[in-house]
Amino acid sequence: MNPDKQIAQVTPLRGILSVPNAANDTALDAQYWSTQMAAVSVHRDRASFMCVYDYFAPRLQRYLRNMHVPESMADELVQEALLILWRKADTFDPARASLATWLYRVARNLYIDHVRKEPHWLPVQEGLDRLDRAESDRRDSQPESIFDQDLLRQAIDHLPPMQAKLVRMSYLESKTHSEISRELDMPLGSVKSSLRRSFAKLQGSMGAPR
């Protein structure tokens, strides 16, 4: 991708202090985020970055609050996650993951590190990320593509209610298989097979040509 083609003029700081109005605009697509991130990465464009902030900060905040992170800590972690995005903007590759996924991963890692207090988690994840990047750099001719989450979102909406519930309990409440099993009075094996089936379905929606 040639980012220069898509970058708007860098907006003066004054222009980005105004109240955001696009935070709930669901029409914002992968191409939009890719363009904003190219401006952040190449021109350190704060206006583009604040578009990302306005849309994702409240979502990351909600994600962390759902996991019972106290409000002030959630605020701090959201800020930290976005600061990491600002610093590492050049490692964001829209062909490998959506911006939502990139930020989700960072917020989850910060949650495990700060809230669950497992400080070993972060270096291990950074090691895995490096491996991942090294592998995709080695791929000869990566077709220009952007990971689009529309099909995945639709597939999530079409999961049978019980499967959707287990997926949400895992991702949005960070419940272990055993906790889900106890809470829903469901055999451990059934919890696992339900999650396996959901994963296969959702993965199928991602396998479509991008």
Partner: protein, 220 residues
Amino acid sequence: MKPNHHLDDATLLSYSAGALPTALAVVASSHLERCKTCREQLRDADQIGGALMQQQRVGTPAPVARAAMLALLEDEQQGGPVTLSTDMVEERDPDRLPGALHPWFGNSMRALQWRRVAPGVQRILAKDVRGGDLMLLRIAPGSKLPLHSHGGNELTMILDGAYDDLLGHFGPGDVADLDGETLHQPVTSPGVPCICVAATDAPLVFSGWLARTLQPLFGF
């Protein structure tokens, strides 16, 4: 060598959700470090997390938080460029344990301080693991363990040597991702000892497993 036995999708999904108990997550990370197939699966699982995070209904950010973010960006620009860590993935050294094990067991296989728990069986138990057990096991070549099953979830990864059971041949890098219903009888391969890292989310049952496993065989 490419692993042949992988993480269960349900395990990967929980790992991606940050919902796997610590001990299991350590073994899963060790396998992910050595398995491209599972890293690709994990990437898909992370996309689910991203989509769910994005789907939440929310309002606009608080002006105060927004101003604080802008102030941070201001500081960043005065602070000069950030240098990202560039250290490469270390060369595959047969003595080097997977990175995820370093905080618990150090980084060298040779330097491990084994404790004998039964003839032919040595063990190192990780300290202060919450909600489960994490241990290294070193089992003499050609040993036959009694038929047993496990309570709760158990994840084992082979670091060196190998064993066979009804699920197949398990060599370095392979994981056995088992739930309580699997009944098996591992037989370690001749030649070198089988060294593996094992984790469980049910410590009491697992202690029971170890006792049950080793008792009839070694009488302790």
